[in-house]
Amino acid sequence: MTPLLDVRNLELGLRHGAQAHRILKGVSFQIMPGETYGLVGESGSGKSVTSLAIIGLLKKPLQILGGEIFFEGRNLLALPRRKMRSLRGSRIAMVFQEPMSALNPLQTVGRQIAEMYVQHQGKSWAQAQKMAVEALASVRVPTPERRVHDYPHQMSGGLRQRVMIAMALACDPALLIADEPTTALDVTVQAEVLKLIRELCAARGTAVLFISHDLGVIATMCQRVGVMYAGCLVEENATRELFVDPRHEYTRGLLGALPKLGSRGLHGRQRLVDIDSFIADRSRLTDTRFIAPRTPVSGEAGS
């Protein structure tokens, strides 16, 4: 089986004349069709710029310094802008962190969804508007035929994120990039949105690149996980293996630093792992990597 997305040795950063400041230092990973792949890491580890590089929306002065990104067999970095644009939205779609600012405040959500059909499927606005109602229904927005006329500010954060998802999935993309899609949401709403993404993507066979700093969310969503640290992918493994048996020092520190629900009941209150005392020399961290050999994709992640 060929991977849907194959990121090879991606390097990006800023260039000052001859000098280059690297933010990503050779990141490689693959996502199979239909697979949900998680990138986890702390702020500044480079997970978000990775996703922007894939969809081709890096903002100046950030630029690609090296590597390749193969998507459905084509190197996205070598693709003409026009071709890349037609892929965006139709084959690769993206959901952003902050649904309020990611939606155009002056357009009804219906029109913003409809725009996808107009753009990629050549529908008329009237047709597209009808399809938008269905799209809203598919993300389980109650009374979609009314909600389609709402403006973003009239919706709650959870609903807005559903609109974003409806928009992203409108044209059945092969890959959905979800960049911290629930960070801005309350915990109960987060659970619903995560469930929605999981179910819709599973139903459509959409592969997901799921980016989060929250190990719990990653565990909920992903089949395989890559752990990023300082622009490097330091460990990659199937989710369960990674959590049960973290191989890399940094992953172990990270997991230890997390208060685990129920563990106080079982073991009493224990000190959390202080990553700084756990890892003596941080600079050494990026020298080592653990990439687990690929295991066949097996159904849905989590339990």
Binding site: E42, G216, A219, V244, A257, L258, P259, K260, L261, G265
Partner: protein
């Protein structure tokens, strides 16, 4: 149990909604509705809930940053709010606060030393040597070196800033520290350090914590008692173990069930999983199951907190 250090009784906070100031009475947003809580000496009481549930308003009321519309707050039995409230200076000795955003909680134009020395001077600690001593002590106790005090906030990382914020809260040696989402803005690895620090400090100085949080795993880790808030009311309160192992209210159960805890998700620890529907005790029903937002401009329907186990209360209505 001794007399509580801080006791909040029937606290109401309402805000006028903007607009419609022509003629008619202003509509009010009911942020906190009849909240009652006691905080004992040396205990960590956490208020959990989702955004807009009124937990931060409660914290601000305790700190005197928000005037309660109704109800009383007593500190060691003396009024801590309303017309007989102590002055700002007296209040400062009783309670301090650690803020959520470490980037906004430090004055960018003051060095750490200034931030720490100013309140001391204000409270009549003027001798240079005593100032230095106390600043040095507090810096060390939060895991920073006294030399770092000469720097400005922007020279510190987020975790270090939060340490400075804690140092500032401790500099006047208050009895109560209100922690407003103290770790939610921090990265995972830093979060652990701050949690450890807070627990160490509590032990060391016998502090009482009133913690506001939406992160249940942190709450479980740190709290002695927990109060769950839903739209201005406490729906369930009790010892941490009761809340996490035997939640009664449907909202509490839902909250716990939706925590994306890797252990729970991957089925590594069965302890934390909440199964089955919520059951109200006989003769009672849940006034609100917490599945949809009530009208925040109205008084909530009458209900009461019922003790279902020692110290474990749940909000119920008579059926």
């Amino acid at each position: 149990m001794n007399a509580p250090l801080l006791s909040i009784d029937d606290l109401h906070v309402r805000f006028p909604l903007s607009g419609s100031w022509f003629g008619r009475q202003r509509r009010m947003l009911h942020a906190v509705n009849g909240l009652s809580l006691d905080l004992a000496k040396g205990e960590c009481l956490s208020i959990v809930g989702e955004s807009g549930c009124g937990k931060s308003t409660t914290a601000l009321s305790v700190m005197g940053l928000q005037e309660p519309t109704q109800g009383s707050i007593l500190f060691r039995g003396k009024p801590f709010s309303g017309p007989q409230a102590p002055s700002r200076m007296e209040r400062a000795m009783a309670a301090q606060m650690v803020f959520q955003d470490p980037y906004a909680s430090l004055n960018p134009r003051q060095t750490v030393w200034q931030s720490l020395a100013q309140p001391l001077r204000l409270h009549n600690v003027t001798a240079r040597s005593e100032l230095s001593d106390r600043i040095e002590t507090v810096m060390r106790s939060v895991g920073l070196t006294p030399e770092q005090a000469t720097r400005y906030p922007h020279e510190f990382s987020g975790g270090q800033r939060q340490r400075i914020g804690i140092a500032r809260a401790l500099i006047l040696q208050p009895e109560i520290v209100v922690l407003d989402e103290p770790v939610s803005a921090l990265d995972v690895s830093i979060r652990a350090q701050i949690i450890n620090l807070l627990l160490d400090l509590q032990e060391e100085f016998g502090l009482s914590y009133l913690m506001i949080s939406h992160d249940l795993s942190v709450v479980e880790h740190m709290s002695d008692r927990v109060a769950v808030m839903f739209f201005g009311q406490i729906v369930e309160t009790g010892p941490w173990s009761a809340i996490f192992s035997d939640p009664v209210h449907p909202y509490t159960r839902r909250l716990i069930a939706t925590i994306p805890d890797p252990g729970a998700v991957l089925g590594l620890s069965r302890e934390a999983v909440v199964d089955g529907p919520a059951q109200a005790p006989a003769g009672w029903r849940f006034a609100d199951d917490g599945s949809s937002a009530p009208d925040v401009t109205q008084e909530p329907k009458p209900s009461e907190l019922v003790e279902v186990a020692p110290g474990h209360f749940v909000r119920l209505s008579r059926s």
